[in-house]
């Protein structure tokens, strides 16, 4: 149950992270790395006809044509996920494929965060509560 707490917390207070420069994080697989923000994949609009999946634009990284995000799994581990992106809507990117609603992604992409790292949300960054 304790392990679920950060997830629940993140779900509660999700949103785009702060906008200052992310420092390079020294990685070590055993020690959880604190990241500024972990946000869930949101939807806008009413469920049904015009529902769109959204992630913060800052969370998306690109490798050539490929676009990806870092997904935080239930075990707090990071895995890369390739996504298909649509239009940008006020700082958010519409996700056309590859993510489910409610999945957690690292709000601000940092190239030093690798596959399999354990992350927690860093406590000292204040988050705005997302208005749905």
């Amino acid at each position: 149950m304790i392990s679920l707490l950060p997830v629940a917390l993140a779900l509660l207070v999700s949103g785009c992270g702060g906008h200052e420069e992310t420092p390079i994080i020294r990685v070590s697989p055993s020690v959880p790395v604190a990241v500024e923000s972990i946000v869930p994949v949101r939807t806008n609009g009413e469920p049904g006809t015009r529902e769109l999946l959204l992630v913060p634009a800052t969370s998306v990284f690109r490798n050539g044509e490929l676009a990806g995000v870092l997904v935080v799994g239930a075990d707090h581990q990071i895995s890369q996920r390739w996504i298909r992106t649509g239009v940008v809507l006020q700082g958010d990117i519409v996700v056309l494929g590859g993510l489910d609603k409610g999945e957690l992604v690292v709000g601000k992409y940092n190239p030093s965060l690798g596959e399999g790292l354990t992350v927690i949300k860093s406590p000292n960054v204040t988050e705005e509560v997302q208005n749905k």
Binding site: R50, N63, G64, E65, L66, S79, Q80, R81, W82, I83, R84, T85, G86, V87, V94, L96, G97, G98, L99, G114, E115
Partner: protein, 1076 residues
Amino acid sequence: MNEGIAGKLAKQFINSKITPLLMVASLLVGIMATFMTPREEEPQIVVPMVDLYIPYPGAAPVEVEARVARPIERTLTEIPGVDYVYSTSMPDFALVTVRYKVGEDAERSMVKLWSTLMKNMDKMPPGVQFPLMKKVSIDDVPVLNLTFWSKTKNPYELRQSAAAVAEELKKINNIGDVEIKGGLKRQIKIELNKAKLQQFNVSPMQIARQIQQGNSQMTSGDFKQMNQEIVVRSGKFLESAEEVANIVVGIYGASPVYLRDVATIVDGPEEVNNYNFFGWAAAAPKGSVAGEYPAVTLTVAKRKGGDASVLADKVMSRVDGLRKTAIPSGITVTETRNYGATASEKVFTLLEHLLMAVVAVTIVVGFFLGWRGSLVVLASVPITFALTLLIYYLLDYSLNRVTLFALIFVTGIVVDDSIIIAENIHRHFAMKRQPKLQAAITAINEVGNPTILATFTVIAAVLPMVFVSGLMGPYMSPMPIGASLAMIFSLLVALIATPWLSFRLLKTEEGHQEEYDITKTGYYKLFNNILSPFIESPVKRWIAFGVVGLMLAGAIALVPLKAVQMKMLPFDNKNEFQVIIDMPDGTSLEQTARVAKEAAAYLKTVPEVESYQYYVGTNAPINFNGLVRHYYLRQKANMADIQVNLVHKGERKAQSHDIAKRVRGDVQKIALRYNGNAKIVEIPPGPPVLSTLVAEIYGPSQEQQIALAKQVKKVFEETPGVVDVDFLVEEDQKVYNLVVNKERAAFRGVSAEQIAQTLRMSLAGMDVGVLHTDKQLDPVAIQVRLPQSGRTSLRDLSGIFVQSQGMGTLTTRLRAGQMIPLSELVKVEEKIQEKSIYHKDLRRVVYVTADVAGATESPVYAMLDMDKKIQKLKVPGGYSVNPLYTANPTSEDKLSMKWDGEWQITFEVFRDLGTAFAVVLVIIYLLIIGWFQSFKTPLIMMIAIPLSLVGIIPGHWLHGAFFTATSMIGMIALAGIMVRNSVLLIDFIQIRRAEGVDLKRAVIESAAVRTRPIILTSGAVVIGSVVMLFDPIFQGLAISLIWGGVLSTILTLVVVPLVYYMAERKSDKPSIPKNS
């Protein structure tokens, strides 16, 4: 004693100077042939298979089936040589696959197909486009895969690099197809801006037309002037993105509208249509980087008849030379498949086994005949094999696992002739009744003729296997041919080389001068003790026969008791397997990639896995199995293939099949979590089939068939040991059907075709030409399409316009070029995509497929198990469905089911082998009648044949092995060997009786004298087979030869003399009391 052929031959060559020369020459050509014969792993199989792709745009599956698939199938079945015709009728097109009989000439088959098709093209409905014919052959299977992967480069750059390498590789001699899997091609993307299009009054169709017309250049002719010709050319090809951008596509007001005004032109990678990643796994070499990287795979196929290992070496050295030029630093090229190396390895392992078998046999012979005797035998084997290899080379066989297997298989047998001759010469030298040369020739004469007869019985035993038909034929036929050839050569060697060698190597022992007396030998004493009680007491004799009979019955009973299970071929220990993931139809490429990645992440942790590669949206490089299963069509967004490469089999304990079994459950769990279906696909040891277990369901309507298929699928899933259950019925997929309001369209002067084209261009995109640049190896397409973000929902279609064609259409009063919104002309209907219709040999069929692993490894038992459950299924009409095994259903009015898959091949193989065995028995019978001029004696000799079962079946049970096709081959060959033993025994009895010895003494003497050669030859077979015991495929053969050989030799030595005694007693002496 008369001199037979054997004696004459021996006399000619025993002192000839030509004999050693012949021996050396044979050896030399054999060595030459070994290196010149192309090496490959799988035997050459010619199964002409042609795929016909027949587009019929717009047609529903039912229509495609009725108008295209069925008529074409009907005409194709007329072609002689066609074995099966399959078809799949999908929305918009039909795929018809024609499979010819094994061994049909590929080119001739294509011509026949082409002419038949042409003859019938006029019967096709309007709208059917010209079929695309693709021949599928085993040489399409890549022998070498090179994976380009990089930490820093993206798929687009990887593909560029791979394309450059591919271009260089094509320059190598004897190289076949070079293909690139994955990566992104360069493309000029014209992303339409809907708002701008509307603003400037330009339609997508207009853009396509303008680009096509602007991208043209041609030679117009020449001017002749001043004694010179000046060529005139006109037009200009589009050479860059700028030129494309500057095309005028319309006029707005008084100024031109450039393409760049209404669209974004991007020169770069095409839109993502595949995900291809490479990663090292748990067993990766030290120092490998973790993580997974974008990858592109370059596949290299060989040309027909080429040597895979030579080609692979050439390609690899060429690739090494290209590092730093075509392959920039930062890109790693990893060899992910090298069938050349595996073929070489397999061939050399088998050659090594061959050598071990020869050495083992030599040692055994050494025990009995001394080192000089064993040297004689040892020398005869290489000569025999050298000549056989030469014939392989001359007959265009390749060195593969089947042709080499034939050699290992006969190792124990080819030494026999030499052993018998050398042993008898040895015996005669020891007897010292004659001078040396005379003794040798007498010895040869004594056993020469029975040896020739015996050789032909063995040939008669194996040769009928040539007639195994179907896909298994090419796996089998090199065996009897190779074995028969080797037998003939071994006979020649035994009659020509062995006497020469024996005469020089075998010594007559000095010293004891006493007269040879057979009754003083140990063998005589032994057999006198064993046989006498049985000969004298009929009761004991019958008890002995009863015991043997019980042993036989007990052995056979192991089969119905399932203690020994039948299976066609067990799995080989390979270094790879594949995981095939099928997501529900309509799953996005990214979702499929996600599942593939998750499955790969699990596979990566399996300790034996060295590397993995997943392919989403494009198929993994195929193997022979994939070729037959049409895996090269696995290019949809909902399909993913994971290629799993294991560490070399020498470096792991677990067999690949066990690893596959171990990972299956976990991989399936991952796929199931996303409603997908994952299968573990191993390389089959024999001919590939659609699936190990296939239930073909026939019936009056597709709904009923699918309903029954669902029930059958459930039965499959509930049966233990049945895994990877699937059926070839698509999931319901939502489609939006945009119905054109014809009246309104006519009123606006818009044609239905215009609407369809515009929609297609907007959504799927349309290639309107290629960029004419000489630097690029892959063609660079110019594609018009809406941007990704502008085509996500029906609402996005609202901003698309078509142009009215104006008054020319005679249905409208609008002026030409007026923009009409598409939404005004079409109505959306939501539907479920119609399902594909499968045909097999003109019958509608629904396939349910599965594999077997775990609880049962043999499909036959699973089938028998499921039969009962299937018979209980309720179908409309109230009858029960009886699964058919061999025959096709007689009518389609009722629901019916037929088993197919591995069963079909198993059935064909065991049927053909069984027939072969029956023919063998008749031929052997005839041969012996010819020799002994008696109808009764051959029957006595053939008693030994069923006795081999006493050893074979319990042998399989002891080893926990399957009774496989190779076991059956062993059993058949053993029949020949056992009859030969009987021939040697009875021949000697008859010689002695002709010399006036009484029956009882002749019987015991014969057993005593012939024991040594019989044990030696059978021992050679047994010892020669031991090396095969560890090969998963040939294990069955080894068990048959070893256990069958041992048991039936022992029993033969007792039973055959006894039966002969009983049979001949009446004609011998009336003094022996009658059986009470």
